[in-house]
Symmetry: C2
Subunit: 768 residues, 2 copies
Amino acid sequence: MKKYLKYDEWCIIEEGFNPANHQASESIFSIGNGKMGQRANFEEKYSGESLQGSYVAGVYYPDKTRVGWWKNGYPEYFAKVLNSPNWIGINVTIDGFELDLYKCKVDNFTRTLNMKEGFLLREFEATLENDKKISVKAKRFVSMADTENGAIRYSITPINFSGKISFTPYIDGDIENEDSNYDEKFWNILDVQAEDGSAYLESQTKKSDFRCGFAMKYIVKLNEKVVKPNAEVIQLNKWVGNQIEIEVKEGETACIEKFAGVTSSLNYATDALKSQAEELASFACHKGFDKLFEDHKQKWSEKWIHSDIKIKGDIAAQQAIRFNIFHLNQTYTGEDERLNVGPKGFTGEKYGGTTYWDTEAYCIPFFLMTSPSQVTRQLLIYRYKHLPRAIENAEKLGFKNGAALYPMVTANGEECHNEWEITFEEIHRNGAIAFAIHNYIRHTGDKKYLEEYGLEVLVGISRFWSQRVTFSEARKKYVMLGVTGPNEYENNINNNWYTNKMATWCLKYTKESIDYVKAENPERYEELKAIMNFNEEETVRWMDIVDNMHFPYNEELKVFMQQDGFMDKEQMMADDLDPAERPINQHWSWDRILRSNFIKQADTLQGMYVLEEQFTEEEIRRNFDFYEPRTVHESSLSPCVHSVLASKIGKIEKAYEMYLRTSRLDLDDYNAEVHEGLHITSMAGTWMAIVEGFGGKRAYDEKLYLNPVIPEQWEEYAFRIRFKGKDLEVRVNENEIEIISHASLPVELFVYDKPVTVEENKSITISR
Amino acid sequence: MKKYLKYDEWCIIEEGFNPANHQASESIFSIGNGKMGQRANFEEKYSGESLQGSYVAGVYYPDKTRVGWWKNGYPEYFAKVLNSPNWIGINVTIDGFELDLYKCKVDNFTRTLNMKEGFLLREFEATLENDKKISVKAKRFVSMADTENGAIRYSITPINFSGKISFTPYIDGDIENEDSNYDEKFWNILDVQAEDGSAYLESQTKKSDFRCGFAMKYIVKLNEKVVKPNAEVIQLNKWVGNQIEIEVKEGETACIEKFAGVTSSLNYATDALKSQAEELASFACHKGFDKLFEDHKQKWSEKWIHSDIKIKGDIAAQQAIRFNIFHLNQTYTGEDERLNVGPKGFTGEKYGGTTYWDTEAYCIPFFLMTSPSQVTRQLLIYRYKHLPRAIENAEKLGFKNGAALYPMVTANGEECHNEWEITFEEIHRNGAIAFAIHNYIRHTGDKKYLEEYGLEVLVGISRFWSQRVTFSEARKKYVMLGVTGPNEYENNINNNWYTNKMATWCLKYTKESIDYVKAENPERYEELKAIMNFNEEETVRWMDIVDNMHFPYNEELKVFMQQDGFMDKEQMMADDLDPAERPINQHWSWDRILRSNFIKQADTLQGMYVLEEQFTEEEIRRNFDFYEPRTVHESSLSPCVHSVLASKIGKIEKAYEMYLRTSRLDLDDYNAEVHEGLHITSMAGTWMAIVEGFGGKRAYDEKLYLNPVIPEQWEEYAFRIRFKGKDLEVRVNENEIEIISHASLPVELFVYDKPVTVEENKSITISR
């Protein structure tokens, strides 16, 4: 754990420069706009430890898979998120001495991530080897409004001298990827061109042939007036830039404003990449830093209106939830159905791939409530577009007749993870993807989605489950053999309760959806039947499985069993573990973990969270009391689910403990790994812990429910949600709940299970 | 499957040169002497596909482990068997044109592996690009008598010309290992020195610092008379040699005899490697090729007396069994307790490591019967010496108090395999290692071994089992969770019947052994107690486990269940598999294999083979009938066990089918992989299929039993065995069994369960 950041409601602030924290800060202070993003690398040269990270959404490299022993069915490659050419670079020399914070004396260093307005600011004083002291201020953002533009304002004021300052703004294409399996470089450089005042570099990924164009323009100012020093144009094989030099007097301020235009072959014909990137850079330069920033800020302001959560009386919690919301909004904006929510977003390379089940299980609940329904719909369509690949995935594993197995990790629909116990067996992801369709529809009312896209996905998934189960002659029940549940501390188990539960839920929901589409739009239904080569007879087996699935259950404890044989394990409690042996995944051998009853992340409880309405509060409590003490929460996705359920069953202290664990995971670097990037997808779980946990927000049968509680550490909290296009603000304190409508129609909902109507643009207050 | 070799009783013969078969032949025609060995690479240059292989016993390289995702407890390295500097090389030019069979016209090519005398012979005619035609004869062996010597006699006769022949005998240290994980070279070359008539090269493995010295000397003959042409001495960084040239007339024969002396730091001080290697080469050169060969042949003759199996009426079976026996004898001679029986011996690099459970489960039964007891004893002491490492292995996985887990794969006692489901879970190897002690004692009567070495190993292993089981409160039984049995087509299962069986057997045998040593040698027992920090209280739990272990059993079928839940699987038969989908491990994804009921290799039946006396014939038949149809035999170690049991229960046709499958596995290249090397350890299984299967040899309670049957394809078969130092020959035909004693005392045994005594050096004949 690392606690070096200041508490602040709207900002993340690092005071004083400590190289040991630099890589962590590079992650934490990352900026992005859904289309591109940046780790908080310095613009000027930095010779200390740093993880360079510049990312263009949707661009990946199929890196040859690395395994110890090849097993049939392994993917050929692991799709790696790519560190891309670096467009932020501005080298600086002061009277010929290079500015490098690793080698200078640094004073009054402050790094600020302003989350309200979406920018990164760095201010410091540096004393160089030549004893010249300067004051520097660098502000950077990637625009939420003009999403292919990034801008930097970099100002230097000599403090104790007058002299020459040189700026070398550049684009560097000679890039390494830390996560490369075989230490290969992933980029070819196709074009470099530098002119006075501008430069262009075009790069191409090897194998996958993505192309990205990076154009830069800049203007130089002395005391806020534009000057035009001559530039030395530098053009190398993989590097382009300009070097300019100006005379600056003590106390004067030299400033360079660098504008980048970034294009990719996802969005442009390859022969237009250059002209478009150059146009974008020119456009931004012409518009000017301040106006560009103004438009950007405006977009952030709109995002915050709908997604902010306010917490009074707990600044650490307030800062943390905003940090989580900020990064989610930076990572995914829902404008492009080909993109998704990568586990590290634009903050690191680790894990590879861009899409995990995290999207459906964690991120969709967040986006559903905080963004227009279109945003979630894009995430669903992303999977719809990958359906043919999911069918191919299943075929590779021996499934037939349009059965679809979505990948555990992917960048393009193809599976790219390489551990058999995950790739081949952690099939519950299929359940989350189906459930997301239901979740979308129950929150938006958009049932039309079923006939447009949803049904095809549901049928593919149901066909998979139908083939994946085995009828056990011994039990006269359907069983599901050889799976890994959400709890990855068990591998290749039989009858994971969660997976079996989600499978039968899918089969049932698919059947209902078929009946619905058939009734509502028979013509489209016939069309879909032809497309899917679907025969209604298929559903006979589906319903037989629904009726006769085996669910492990312990009669004595009246608790659902995570899998067959769970009670054969030695029953131990996480609290009794030697703290020196935690996290166990860093101290115990894998077989010991597998044999133990310790649970990495919510599994049976995950199922009770997803399908909560099927269980009584008493059942939830019994299972919570059984599983929570056995859960070590060594996945970032775990505490949030326990937090939501703890709130539900009135264990508010427990819920708060779990909330803290999830919300400041990266800010306080609980697991000593934040330098690799942030846990983007689990950030949505933090939001869930408040809105669904403390706020008790539910949507059953297309009706909205609120059952707020409040941790005693908080004076008040407020969040805003959307439900079927209606926009509500909810404020909760110890005594009352205020619901403020921003909708143009009355909103009906249930508060503490009592029906309530909030009139359009009115508010109501309910005592607690 | 590849059938290009001629049948012959004593030789493997390849006629005609086909480069497509060359790598397979390089494996099949390998020669070795337990201390070093060679693939059948050509002496002269060969530019076609070839896997170079020159091996020095006991030398390995700890190659950095390669895995997709690291798991706690993985070994840091995989010990790789090393391709070592090449001492066989003799480049040849004919009037300036290089001899290279890949580029010449080749006629009358014959490659012969003479198994009786242990040499490799190659004869051919080659027409070079310059149309000069030569006849070549090359004979090579590594001496069984002078085990650090290898010798080559290489003769050339010009057929259609008189001209200049040059020989370049050399030692090459610039070696690649095909099995390198990171394409690194594993050797440093420390010393090179070439003089007229001799050369020396010294190599050092990186990291592990093994050193090997290679000295060569040669003599040149023209028409069998020694000549002394001037040599051009060539000394490069990693290569040393001489080039000599002689004028040869049409019909004359030029011959070079090259003698190598090979030393390793396992046997010599590093500063003696050179002088010793040079002395060895000089010694061999002085002794002369013919005498050297004579001594070598004599040793082979002795080996064959005791290990040969004669089969009349089935030349394919006769050739195959000798091929298997020959390679086993080449691989391990029992002279050095630091060596073991590598899965590929001296025939390839694949699999790495030098010791698997194959040694105890398969090879020891062979060596026990065919070699002096000392040979097996060395293999046991090998494990004894590794006991501290086995305790460390177990500690890494969280076990305590002297619990020992022997490695799945090792070269030095440390585990070096890297799949968690094997390394951490395939723990039944511990059972085989304990059983080998019992097996040794019951065949040799050497009970003293227990107090000398055996008991410490047994106690370490029993401590492991005692900690590895879990008491299931739910079942009120001990269970063994998360294991992989011999059937590796199941991973991380609970209560593998075989593993549970072997575990309780170990606990019981250890207790008996403790009691025995305590009674026989109380003083030594007290000493051992102190060494092991052993408390007799420990055995209370052991016996409780023995009495209360859970063994999966199906009441309805009256069959032992391979593991919990086996009958939940869809019950399919191997014969019903689409032949196009076999072997399933090349066609099915791993999860599909795991979910299926198909068995890779004997598992429950392995247990019934090992502990046969615990079961009635009816029980064996029931289990055989259940498991055999579900077994796909995709491990080379499988058919032999089924063959032995099939003979036992009177299914002679089945036994013969299984015997064929195992005995010609490599000769006929069933699995299209013989080019990588031979399946050395499973060759012992082939021997078992005859002696224990058809011959029905057993040793219970230190008594010898024979229950011979004979496949109808055979007229007669004969084998020779040792039992408690007594040497018997057994000849079986349709009508009778002849037992010929070569012992100096009467031998008592049971034939068809009737007691029989064979007087010293007499024979008896029993009707069948």
